[in-house]
Amino acid sequence: MSGASVLYDVPGPKAKVRNRIYSVLGALAVLALIGFIVLRLSANGDFDPARWDIFNYAGVRNSIRDGVLATLQVFAIAAVLSLAVGVLLAVARLSDHRPVRWLATGFIELFRSIPLLITIYAIWVLLLNNRTELGLSDNQPQFWALVIGLTVYNGSVQAEVLRAGILSVPKGQREAAYALGMRKTQVMTTVLIPQAVRAMLPTIISQLVVTLKDTSLGYIITYEELLYSTRLLAGNTTVGGENPYVQVIIVTGAIYIAMCLALSALANWIERRGRRAKTGIGVVEAGDVGNAGALTAAVAAEAAADTTADTAN
């Protein structure tokens, strides 16, 4: 309320009555909207217990579980790979060697500016065309297309986040490390990157939430992750002559939201923990990358503004 209360006075007796009336009206409007949706759906028979009964069958539960596992598998591999690629690209972009710097910048800018879906699709077609040479069978082309696509895109974004973090480390740290006689690699790996990762951890995790959400693009290249397998399930089941799309979508949505909220909660917790700590440089706000108040470097602010966009993806 601290930010909001600036916008209006502490309500007096008249305003209190007025606010209460508006509260009732607002609540009624929201309830009416929800009620309308529920009414229309129940008119279609979507709240018929028989249609929800499908979730009692072991087969349905198993295919949802397999979908969740497939999603988590892609997410785990892509998350690890994208972090590794991110570190590599961030270091390469800050390299002293011009060709390395140019290459990294080109890679990052290319894959950040192309829609992820198109990247994944292009990789999928490439893998499908060369599946015999590469020895890929069954759904492996889809799997690797999804993993590689997610890795190059999110790796590029993570690289920018890390670069902002590295640039936000106070100059004295680097100078002190050099003064101690450390080599370039040592300065980067033992002084700069640890501090950058610590400062940027909330943003890095927010981007991991984006990675998790983007695994659903596997739906379009027919990889059997959560969305595709539940959609297939709804298409193959009929209850009273109709497919239970609404029920399956509601359940799938709940699973996705729960997974993403759990990861976001982790980011917020780390951010709060980081703000309590008095040592080191400040930790950025989770999710709200545009407001990187703790970062002083102008470049960091600019790169952080860029990442807001990618978080919006």
């Binding site: 192309i114 065309n129 959400k213 739906y219 996705y256 860029d306």
Partner: protein, 215 residues
């Protein structure tokens, strides 16, 4: 090279389709985003709760799932027989509105407290304070994140192509199915997206310069 020249009409249609769906959903996102941001800072608890729920739900749902909702659930509630364009526009617009809302809300909090206090002290109501004093000043700080959000929207519009909306990704898929080398198509489509995203960031840079005020 030949792919582009041989299928210029397709590329043009796809380019225009991407532009159309991006622009249409940007308008929806902007209007809804401002409205929901207003809800989230309003003195009325149910509206605040609604705004919070809206942002939390939409930000944590994959866009592909929203498209499925738009194509399978929304027609059961409203808009029977709506075209894929309208449904896709709805999904993209609602998804982006949650990000616009958050950008505007953080913009509102950057306006100096004295501004709102002064507005209240001369007797302006909450809506007047927001509409006349705070939002116009918040616009300046909101512009850079907004431009990033619209660039992300342009890229997200590719998902609409997979749901039979006419745009660039749909045609890339079509040409690739016809057996053209995917790498070449990929490059041309990438170039088209770059064109749009550069245009967006250019427009916003222009807006920033025109609205920029030395504080």
């Amino acid at each position: 090279m030949n792919v582009l020249l041989d299928y210029l009409p397709e590329f043009r249609a796809g380019f225009l389709g991407t532009l159309a769906i991006t622009a249409a959903s940007a308008v929806i996102a902007l209007v809804l985003g401002v409205l929901i941001a207003g809800f989230r800072v309003s003195p009325i608890p149910p509206l605040r709760a609604f705004g919070t729920a809206w942002v939390t739900l939409l930000r944590n749902t994959p866009l592909t799932l929203l498209f499925l909702i738009a194509f399978f659930v929304v027609p059961k509630i409203l808009f029977q027989g709506a075209s894929p364009f309208v449904l896709g526009m709805l999904a993209l617009g609602l998804y982006t509105s949650s990000f616009v809302c958050e950008a505007i809300r953080s913009g509102i909090s950057t306006v100096p407290v004295g501004q709102a206090e002064a507005a209240r002290s001369i007797g302006l109501s909450f809506t007047q304070t927001l509409r006349l004093i705070v939002l116009p000043q918040a616009t300046r700080t909101v512009l850079p994140p907004l431009s990033s959000i619209f660039i992300a929207l342009t890229k997200n519009s590719a998902v609409a192509g997979a749901f039979s909306v006419t745009e660039l990704f749909g045609y890339a898929k079509l040409l690739s199915d016809k057996g053209y080398a995917i790498a070449v198509i990929f490059l041309w489509v990438a170039l088209a997206y770059l064109l749009i995203t550069f245009a967006i960031s250019g427009v916003f840079r222009l807006l920033e310069r025109r609205m920029g005020v030395a504080r």
